[in-house]
Symmetry: C2
Subunit: 197 residues, 2 copies
């Protein structure tokens, strides 16, 4: 590297971001230096703000800039429905779809015997508290359709059995999906959950 | 988006980096927030430093944190050889290879009639100045092997003809390259420049 230490240091840090490697980090840094006023300075300022203010919501585990996040404090969203997701990224995906108007609970992962992640390492005790304290009527288990996700869903369903209506996302053919490209498991799920037209 | 405005703003800025789109920007921002002490704060600080100090070398066009870059000021590198490259990224690539110990001249692009880029828009007049003022004995035209790169090389060669030794990078089979995967142009170049063993 011929650039000076500050620039090398920036490239090294950028290369640690998911989706960027050393080569793309160099490209990104050159791009930033060329677009100083438009991109570099705003990005530096924005990162500084987020570094100072970002925190996890104490109630649901969402990421925000206040102790209790926007969704938990929104009066309009107090519907009695609670959507349980693994991760903040999943919460964001649900929000983008705009289909759900209740509140969320972010577990922060899935149960995993191998990685020694039990209910206490996730936000499962807090979920059980919330179901009673917030007068929840329906818990939607929107966990990933993976083995770990489904194991976690079964565990939560066991814990909450009889206290509340429990639902999970429908499984089947994705919109725009072609049968030829789907795995056998999805086709089997779609077939066994087939509907009258 | 359910996250607050500061976080949305950061995601928007990150998505403008080359190599990142909206989805990977969201992933990167979540990763940054989770690794606040290890990555987010250092990255914010580093960007702030680079935003304040990064500048183009007034002599060669390299990017650094001083008016005249480290390479131009290094006593050890005053070899009378000047390597002409299109872009700072090319200079960095040459430096990584460690094969060249002279100085550089970054053109900042290639001649292009379509985009109305003439010699004055690049650092070509400055290059011709340097050849005389710095006592350069050899100019190595390390421009990309593209049509624009080679047109620019020819133009510079015309301008400097007779004043200095002019060389260009050898063209041929890349190290580790398989003939079957090479384009016809490369094979023709390698064939016509073949060497006795």
């Amino acid at each position: 590297m011929s650039s000076t230490r500050d620039i090398d240091n920036l490239i090294e840090l950028m290369a640690k971001l998911p989706g960027l490697g050393p080569r793309s980090a160099r490209r990104a840094v050159l791009h930033l230096i060329r677009k100083r006023a438009l991109l570099l300075t705003p990005l530096a300022d924005s990162l500084q703000v987020v570094a100072e203010t970002a925190r996890e919501c104490l109630n649901c585990g969402n990421v925000g800039t206040t102790d209790i996040c926007d969704i938990c404090t929104a009066e309009k969203r107090a519907t009695g429905e609670l959507c349980v997701v693994e991760d903040v990224a999943d919460l964001w995906a649900m929000e983008r779809s705009g289909v759900f108007r209740g509140r969320y609970h972010v577990l922060g992962g899935t149960l995993s015997a191998l990685d020694a992640i039990g209910p206490e390492q996730l936000r499962i005790p807090r979920l059980i508290d919330r179901v009673t304290s917030e007068g929840i009527t329906e818990v939607i288990l929107a966990l990933n359709a993976t083995v770990d996700g489904q194991t976690t869903a079964h565990y939560i369903a066991d814990q909450l059995d009889g206290q509340v209506r429990l639902t999970s996302l429908a499984q089947g053919v994705p919109i725009g999906g072609e049968l030829d490209y789907l795995d056998d498991g999805t086709i089997m799920a779609a077939m066994s959950a087939r509907k009258d037209i």
